[in-house]
């Protein structure tokens, strides 16, 4: 099979999505995203908002979470993300 050839670029880590843009890219409505922003689970202009939201949408779908459960999952996912970055930094220092 002939391979399709695609050029692509890095996803900007610091990019800020509007609520409408985020809603179009994950399975949350604009109103739900507003609530997640209000309770602090979704930081405004937060780094890597989209992958965390996608993971939260998967967890909501697969475990039937309500929005409070989603908010808690997002907070914990972000903590895991931070801890894994720190672990990776420390692992680089020691073999």
């Amino acid at each position: 099979m002939e391979a399709e050839y695609t050029e692509m670029g890095w996803v900007e880590e610091g990019v800020e999505w509007t609520v409408a843009e985020l809603a179009a890219r994950c399975r949350f409505t604009e109103q739900e995203l507003g609530e997640l922003l209000d309770c602090g689970a979704l930081p405004r202009g937060g780094r890597r908002a989209l992958p965390v939201l996608r993971a939260a949408a998967r967890l909501r779908n697969d475990f039937g979470l309500d929005l409070d459960g989603v908010a808690l999952a997002m907070t914990l996912l972000r903590r895991i993300d931070e801890l894994e970055s720190e672990l990776s930094r420390l692992r680089a220092l020691v073999r």
Binding site: T6, M8, G9, W10, L59, A92, L93
Partner: protein, 317 residues
């Protein structure tokens, strides 16, 4: 079409109740969900569990599945006559059709029958995948061929898995966990909606020499005791080639010596650094002359390597 035993996937008997199905799914999902599990193969196992649950939790889909009869997992089979007309919108050809896609189609028709099918344009789904690259590829850039199994509709409107190969240029300067976006390479949109995007997360594969932290690299640098004590000029490998590093006198074990800009390149900033972390190694089998010199060293001064250790220990007692 290949048979899948959805009951076995959830560890259930055929006569399991709806409650049993839900409980079995929840238990397995907690163990294998790829967003919470670190077990090897969790993602594939969860996919199997979720696929089974999506069908068995729905009475109509479960009845349709049960009517397929019992077969060995992976066995090629044909649904009974009339099954296609009753459950799959007509047609008796199931060549190359995946069971999961067939039931997804059934769900879509159920939604349509209940008037929930949207006529407004729907953007196609975004897909995510991970790919491993070596530190050498991150340093120099690389072209990778990714093989994807993507859902697509055939001319009769039936969902099939289509194998697709995409050649992707990974720009130089990738760091672990960075994501690339291929616009329009995700799922097809519906009712005139735009296609989704494909996101590729790059993972750096373990390397026998370097460990990466962002764009910085770490390398273990063995030094002989006299090189560390007296200073030396030593050769150090870097992804861009071997360079000469000046080791200052009195270098201690565990100390990091920085080679500025010798780490991974960065798309928008200066390259990362390479840190050579010193490890002092003794000759494994010193000659009699070397032992004599060590003996001389032992009596030459009054160096107390554990003085600080003992002072701290005494302070605490």
């Amino acid at each position: 079409m290949k048979y899948k035993d959805y009951y076995a996937s959830l560890g259930l008997e055929r006569g399991a109740s709806d409650e049993d199905i839900k409980k079995a799914y929840r238990k397995l999902a907690h163990k294998y969900h790829p967003d919470v599990s670190k077990e090897a193969g969790a993602e594939a196992r969860f996919k199997e569990i979720a696929e089974a649950y999506q069908t068995l939790k729905d009475p109509e889909k479960r009845a349709a599945y049960d009517r397929l009869g019992r077969h060995a997992p992976g066995e090629e089979f044909r649904p009974p006559p009339d099954w296609g007309r009753q459950y799959a919108g007509g047609g008796e050809s199931f060549e190359g059709v995946d069971l999961a896609d067939l039931f997804a189609e059934l769900a879509a028709r159920q939604a349509g029958a209940h008037g929930r099918r949207a006529s407004a344009p729907i953007r196609g789904e975004d897909y995510e995948l991970r790919t491993g690259i070596t530190i050498e590829q991150a340093f120099a850039g690389a072209v990778l061929e990714l093989n994807l199994g993507m859902p697509d509709y055939d001319p009769s409107g039936r969902l099939h898995r289509v194998s697709r190969t995409i050649k992707v240029r990974i720009p130089k300067g990738a760091a672990d966990g960075q994501r690339l976006r291929l616009a329009g390479m995700g799922g097809r949109g519906m009712a005139g909606g735009a296609a989704g995007d494909l996101y590729v997360t790059v993972e750096l594969l373990p390397h026998r020499l370097y460990r990466a932290d962002g764009h910085d690299l770490y390398l273990e640098l063995p030094l002989a005791p006299w090189e560390a004590a007296l200073g030396a000029s030593v050769e150090v490998p870097t992804p861009g080639g071997v360079v000469q590093l000046k080791v200052p006198a009195n270098t201690a074990g565990g100390q990091s010596l920085r080679l500025g800009g010798r780490g991974l390149p960065h798309a928008k900033a200066s390259p990362g650094d390479l840190y050579a972390v010193v490890r002092i190694v003794n000759p494994p089998d010193p000659s009699p002359r070397a032992r004599e010199l060590y003996q001389e060293l032992a009596t030459a001064g009054d160096f107390q390597p554990r003085a600080e250790l003992l002072r701290e220990a005494n302070r605490g007692s």
